[in-house]
């Protein structure tokens, strides 16, 4: 944690270990990328062929032109963003209440949010399907987003309670004494402070929704079908379209990584030094 470190020290103590971890994280992904630019004939070979016999983007072209993958990506984006909005809009107030108020049933309600997530979804899915059908939400964005909120809300509430609790309550009191209303305090003091927590929670909800398959498979039809379900169409009964699948995987991981590249700055900007001294 030394604040003054030489370039060499940084390289040996930080950058090399980071490279090792990245190698572990990226090796299978790199293999996937490599597969996606190989001609199909290179795929099932013994011994393994590492480099493509010729570089090809035919799988990507096919994916975009001959299947509905581009639309599915868009659907996924709508669903994931919707899940983030619904998740945060409901759980920020809830988590604030859990963190800052003491009221009857507090611990029980907080625990019950966790209990919800303990039932294996595979068993809930059929009753849920029946319910969604009654509400007329099958094959709508709202239906899938609400489906995803079953895991995003409990998670967000719990994570955010931890982050709220990490903010000293003296800050609220100081602001209140200064004459700020509760909502003003939340907006001007608390929210900026828990920004890293908010961003992290949003990322969690986004990624989980982006990758979710079972709810999406059951609740979406052709109209709002997201990528995970579309991807499953490449795995037929008798063939696996490796080229399409790996190209699809690359395209799925890309937006999330770019998104994270953009928001990760927020992960440091949260607690500006000085704020805590207050």
């Amino acid at each position: 944690m030394s604040l003054r470190r030489s370039a060499l020290q940084t390289f040996v103590q930080v950058e090399v270990p980071v490279l090792l971890i990245l190698a572990f994280a990226l090796a299978p992904f790199a293999w996937m990328l490599l597969t996606s630019v190989k001609p199909t004939a290179d795929l099932a070979l013994f011994p393994v062929r590492y480099l493509p016999s010729r570089l090809t983007f035919e799988h990507y072209a096919m994916l975009i032109e001959r299947t509905s993958f581009a639309v599915n990506l868009l659907n996924s984006l709508v669903i994931a963003c919707g899940a983030v909005l619904l998740g945060l809009a409901t759980s920020v107030p809830a988590a604030y209440a859990f963190s800052r108020f003491r009221f009857a049933g507090r611990r029980q309600i907080l625990t019950s949010f966790l209990v919800i997530n303990m039932f294996p979804i595979v068993l809930l899915i059929i009753p849920l399907f029946v319910l969604m059908r009654k509400l007329g939400l099958i094959d709508t964005f709202v239906g899938v987003i609400i489906g995803h909120s079953t895991f995003s809300i409990p998670f967000s509430v719990w994570m955010l309670v931890s982050y709220f609790n990490a903010i000293p309550r003296e800050l609220d009191e100081a602001a209140t004494i200064d004459g700020a209303s509760r909502l003003q305090t939340i907006r001007r003091v608390i929210l900026p402070l828990i920004m890293p927590g908010l961003v992290t929670t949003a990322i969690y909800v986004f990624i989980t929704s982006w990758n979710e398959y079972l709810f999406a498979m059951m609740l979406s039809g052709q109209t709002v079908r997201p990528v995970t379900v579309a991807l499953q169409l490449f795995i037929g009964e008798f063939t696996v379209q490796w080229g399409l699948l790996t190209a699809g995987g690359a395209l799925i991981a890309l937006p999330v990584s770019i998104l994270f590249l953009l928001v990760q700055r927020r992960l440091v900007a949260g607690l500006t030094s000085g704020a805590v001294k207050a």
Partner: protein, 405 residues
Amino acid sequence: MKRRTFVKLAGASALAGGLSAPSIAQGVATVRWWYHYDNPQNTPAALVAKFEQANPGIKIQAEAIPWGGGTDYINRMFSSVVAGNQPDCAMVRLAYLSRFSQMRALEPLDGHLANWAGRSDISDDVWKLNRAPDGKQYYMPLHYVVIYLYYRQDLFQQAGLQPPKTFDEFLACAKALTKDGMFGYGMRGGGGCHDNWGPFVLGGGASFEKGGMVSAKALAANRFFVEFATKHKVVPPSAPTDAFRQIVDGFKAGRTAMTIHHIGSSAEMVAALGDKASAVPLPRGPGGGGWTYFGDESNAIFASSKVKEAAFRWISFLSGAGNVEQAQLSGQLPITTSGGRNWTGHPKRFVDASFASLPIAQTLPDHVKTPDFVGRVLPTNLQRALVGETNPDEVMKAVEQLFHG
């Protein structure tokens, strides 16, 4: 993305429906149809267009449902039936006929079939296979595959071997070809293993009748099959969890000399191995008996449909005038006799092997427990025997227990 491309893509995703609301115009019937093709690039759009042109009063909403190893497709379908949201008609498998019957979910087609000219173009054997226990026809046969034996012509020639006609010859070939890191037989012990187990065990004398799995003959047949792995070691060590992807890849990569699958993988095999890959019907058992799996696919109309007449016209089109084109999309064999006669969708040697396998081709029993047999009981018990955790006889006891308590 330019707006025009986007609109085009949106259209492609909505292929023949999905986005369009059910028509309420007078005299226009909208038929919702669920299907699954192996190749996501294949869509029934052209077929739908052709049909709609010939039947101006009918709109077809075709929806691709992910197969997901069978579970997703079936799961989605049964949930829809429970929720009352089922399509008008859909592709279905024989293994689920009993369960559909129990739910009274399907419409008998006998009335429609009586007046259908195309009926005689589908062989009586197929109609018989598809008949429900109550004697009615709920399924309209669509396309099929038959399990046969893939073998490496070149390796057999080099070793001076003929494709095996009996179980003993099969074992001899497998032993002779297991050398230098190559395995004689690419066995499927993972998901879908019934199509490798059946030919040797059901073909060797086991049956689904009461006591049929635990007779001396049945137990011996199963032991013979398990010993490919445990005693003779003519299968790759990965066989207990190898599913179709692994057996096909193993064969394509030149790591196995024989494997058991059907015409659906022939295109891949030929692309990788050319003329070296060929096929023959599966070998016969000691008593001359044989068994191979008839991989069926039909369409059925749901009892809840409000447009049964229109739905029947669509599914009878797919099993009649449109059958050859439909089989090209699915990569399987057309069900019609006329379509099969001049079929050019696969290389001839594989079509011949499929036809030659028909005399011993059978389906699994029409029983509510059949999906559980295929999906859980056989794989788990067989795998335990293949890795040597249990006595092979336990497999047969478990299957007997499942069907006969």
